[in-house]
Every structure is written in C-alpha cells, then in structure tokens.
C-alpha cells in the first residue's frame, strides 16, 4: 500500500478489497490520529458534575486556534515593508537626489510582494493550490481583497522596479495605493475574525499595521548605507510610523484593560513575552533614534531595533490570538458583557 493510500486508510480501517470508499471525506488524508487534539486537551481530573464558577464546558476551547504557522506573521512583516516601501517609492518618484533611496524602496516593494506570496503559500495546507486565491473576488473577505491587492501590487512593483523613474502615473499611483492596501489589509484581516483578542482590537489593528509598516520600512532602510538626505527622509517617515505604532500599542493596552480576559491572553505566555519584547525594541529604537548624535551605527542599531520590534509584534499578535482562542472564558465573558450592554 502506498503512503497516500495508507493515509486514506488511517482511522477507517476498511479493506480496499471489501469496501468502496468514495464518501465526501474519504479523500481526507490522515497521517496519524491526534487523540488529545494535538496535545492541547489534557485529561480532565475534576469531577465532571462538580461545578466551577465559570460554568463552561470542561474548559475546552470554544473557538479553534489559528492554524497559521510562522510564515504568516513573517508575511505580515514583509507585507508591511513592501507596502511602506511602495508608498515611499511613489512619494520619492522623480526626486533626483533621492533616486537611490527610491530604487531601494522599489526594490523592497518588489521583494516584499514576491517573498510575501511565497511565505503565504508556505502556510497553505495545499500549496499547489495557491492560485486559487485569485479564483474569486470576495469583497467580504479581507484575505480575498488582500490577495488581489498583493497580486496587483506585486505586478505594479515589478513594473516600477523595471521602469524606475520612467514609470507612468498609473504604475506610480497604482503602486502607492496597492502598497497602502497591502500594508494595512492584514490589520483588517485579523480584526475581521471571531478571535476575541483580535476582534476586540479591530479598530486599532489596521492603524497599528499601517504605522508599523511605515516603521518597518524605515527600519530596513535605516540599516542600509544612506546619505544624510536619505537618512532624514527615512527617519521622518520612520518616526511617524514608530510614533503611530507606539500610540496604537498603548491604545490597545488601554482598550484591553476594559476586557480583562483579552488582557490576560495578551499578557501571558509566548505572546506576552513577544509583546513585551516588541514594546521594548520599539521604545529603545525610538530612544536610540533620539540620541543627539549622528552616526551610521546609531542609525543601524535603531533600524535593527525597529525591525525586531515589528517582527515581534506580529508574532505576539498570532501567539496571543492562539492563547485567547484556547481560553473559552475569554469568548464567553466578552459576549456576556456585550449582551448586558
């Protein structure tokens, strides 16, 4: 029996010689059984009928955890850089002295919109079907809009990389608008879920992603050899982004304070550590930036800190999202409170 056949066999244990297996789920391949739901469900040690105050179903997750792997937050970051770069490139269009920077930006936008889909594809359960992302356009789905944006922006970015300053208005503005979408839609995408942590932050996430995109773009550019003029541009763009990012993070934490379960999910575990790391990197990046000296090293350190912060932030959001989904009380309490009005 081939491997593929045996995967179709696991958990059914029906002889191919005796049974025809053509049901809807018969094609579902299973390598191995996951008795305890992949280890996240422990044996229940309490007496089932002895009631706990929270009155849920054996503390079992009410929602499914996000299934996304590392490549998704990595993409969020790449997308941010691509989007920010695309916007910046558009803004730099035709500025001769900043041509090198503009080209850097075009290149980053191209790189981001090229690597991004690769990262996304890597997360797909069926990688060979990545093109299905463009099968339909579903306005209701931020991911659908994002996919089309990403594809469009990618084409524009490639064009504008090739054409450089010669590119026309369509390409230029297309790149800019696409870049903005790519930079921000991911925030909408996370907010548009049932996950209580993300959903409760749905008005802040797009702003956070957008500002962090600016900061990330600047962070990467800062790590490159820049002349003074270029550095100023990058620094200004970056500072706005970082300020926005910091403001959003503070706002999120304040927002969380009204929803203690969400705050707990954000604070605890891997997500909490990453969130703290993101904050620390962001703040130190800003502080280094504000040092009254000017040196390539300072710039690079600041850029690196900003980059680390931006990456940590995205991983923190995914990890905390997982934690929030695992804890049924988060979902229940948020909804109960809302019902009370």
């Amino acid at each position: 029996m081939s491997l593929a056949q045996s995967r179709l066999h696991v958990g059914r244990e029906m002889s191919p010689g005796l049974a025809l297996q053509i049901g809807e789920g018969a094609a579902q391949q299973v390598k191995h059984a996951e008795p305890d739901a992949g280890g996240i469900v422990p044996l229940w040690r309490q007496v089932p009928s002895q009631h706990r105050t929270d009155h849920n179903y054996y503390d079992l997750a009410l929602l499914k955890e996000p299934v996304w792997i590392w490549s998704v937050p990595a993409y969020f970051y790449m997308g941010g850089v691509a989007g920010g770069s695309a916007m910046l490139a558009a803004a730099l269009h035709g500025k001769k002295r900043l041509r090198r920077l503009a080209n850097w930006c075009r290149f980053l936008a191209f790189l981001g919109t090229t690597i991004g889909p690769v990262l996304l594809t890597y997360d797909l359960g069926k990688m060979s079907r990545f093109l299905n992302m463009l099968r339909v356009l579903r306005p209701s789905s931020p991911m659908s809009i994002g996919s089309w944006s990403l594809a469009g922006t990618g084409m524009m970015a490639a064009l504008s990389l090739l054409q450089g300053d010669r590119s026309g208005a369509v390409t230029r503005y297309g790149t800019a608008v696409g870049g903005l979408l790519v930079a921000g839609y991911t925030g909408v995408l996370l907010g548009n879920t049932a996950n209580p942590l993300w959903r409760e932050r749905r008005l802040l996430l797009p702003a956070l992603f957008m500002s962090s995109a600016a900061a990330s773009t600047a962070g990467v550019l800062q790590m490159m050899p820049l002349d003074e003029r270029e550095e100023k541009v990058v620094q200004r763009f970056g500072m706005v982004g970082k300020a926005g990012e910091a403001a959003c993070m503070v706002a999120m934490q304040r927002n969380d304070a009204t929803v203690p379960e969400v705050a707990a999910a954000a604070r605890e575990g891997k997500g909490g550590v990453l969130w703290t790391a993101a904050k620390a990197a962001l703040v130190s990046g800003i502080l280094v930036e504000l040092l009254p000296v000017r040196s390539p090293l300072k710039r690079k350190v600041s850029g690196a800190l900003t980059t680390i912060g931006a990456i940590c932030l995205r991983f923190a959001l995914l990890e905390s999202g997982k934690a929030a989904a695992r804890e049924p009380q988060t979902t229940i309490n948020v909804q109960r409170r809302r019902m009370k009005g």
């Binding site: 029906m14 005796l18 025809l20 053509i22 339909v136 356009l137 579903r138 306005p139």
Partner: protein, 189 residues
Amino acid sequence: MAKNNWFLKWPALRQVASGDPAGLGESAMTERTRSLKPRTAEADKVVGSVCPYCGVGCGQKVYVKDGKILDIEGDYDSPISEGCLCPKGSATMQLVTGTHRTMNVLYRRPYGKKWEKIPLKQAMDMVADRVKQTRDETWEEQHEKGHPLRRTLGIAHLGGATLDNEENYLIKKLFTALGMVQVENQARI
C-alpha cells in the same frame, strides 16, 4: 447556469458575467460540486438486511457496487427502526469490511507458540477427524442404572445468539445427531 464558455471556467469571470459581486454562491462552485451525487446513487444493487448487533432488529440497506460494499445504512421501511441505527449499527460497514477481519484459517498445534495458516479444506478434515475420535472415545451408551444416554460429554459447543436461525438449526441438528448435549449459547451468558 454554467454557460459552457471556456472563459467562464474562471469563477471570477463568472462573477462578473452573472453579476454576482459577493461571489458566495453558485458562481464559485466547481463542476464537481454541481454534479455531486450521493454515492449510493452509484450502487448496482441494494439488498435488505438486518443489523447484526443487538436484538432490536433494525432494518438495514446494503449498497453494493462491483462486488464491494458501498454503504450500509438504516431502512426507512422498517416498522422497527424507521431508518434509524445506533452507533454500533451505523458502524456496520466498518465491521464487515474492516481490516481486522482474518481471511485465513489459523492453526495452533498443541504446545505451539504461533499461529500457522492452513487451507480451509484441510482444517475441515482435521476438525472432522477430531470430532470422530473424541466422540468414539467418550461415547456413553447407557447410564449405570440402565437408562439410555446415547451421547458424548467429550465435546461441547458454545455460540448461537449472533448466528442465523438456519445456522442454529443445523448446529442443533448435527450436534444432537452426534450425541452432543453440551450445546450452549449467550442466551444464559
């Protein structure tokens, strides 16, 4: 719908063509989805059966295609079960087609440490020999008081509640003719 224009194979274009901006419904369907059918529609025969588990006797329908079982489910027509089955009955297909089923006769020789596969006919011959030998050795014609016994206590049988009436009948008929009286089944177990 589904105009057969080749360019409409791309659902996004179908969306445009059929004025379906949301793209949630038919325009997003594939050919497989449109032509989906229950697999039972492919059966080349359907036979009436009865659930083999408990004594309620729920009706079952067995769907067969190419000599293989396609599906086993409840029979709506049965006044007993009206199509219902319990979890065990619902798992009947797995019971009768399962990989756990042994397909060969297994033989363990006295003091042996493992099973050996032997041909069915040989095994049947061997069993017949054993029956004859034991029967002849342990035959009791008469009780010491003179009552007729005409039997053997050297062979016993257990089983029947999961078997067909016809099988129980032949078991009882043959074993009684052989003089076996220790014939029992789950009815008191």
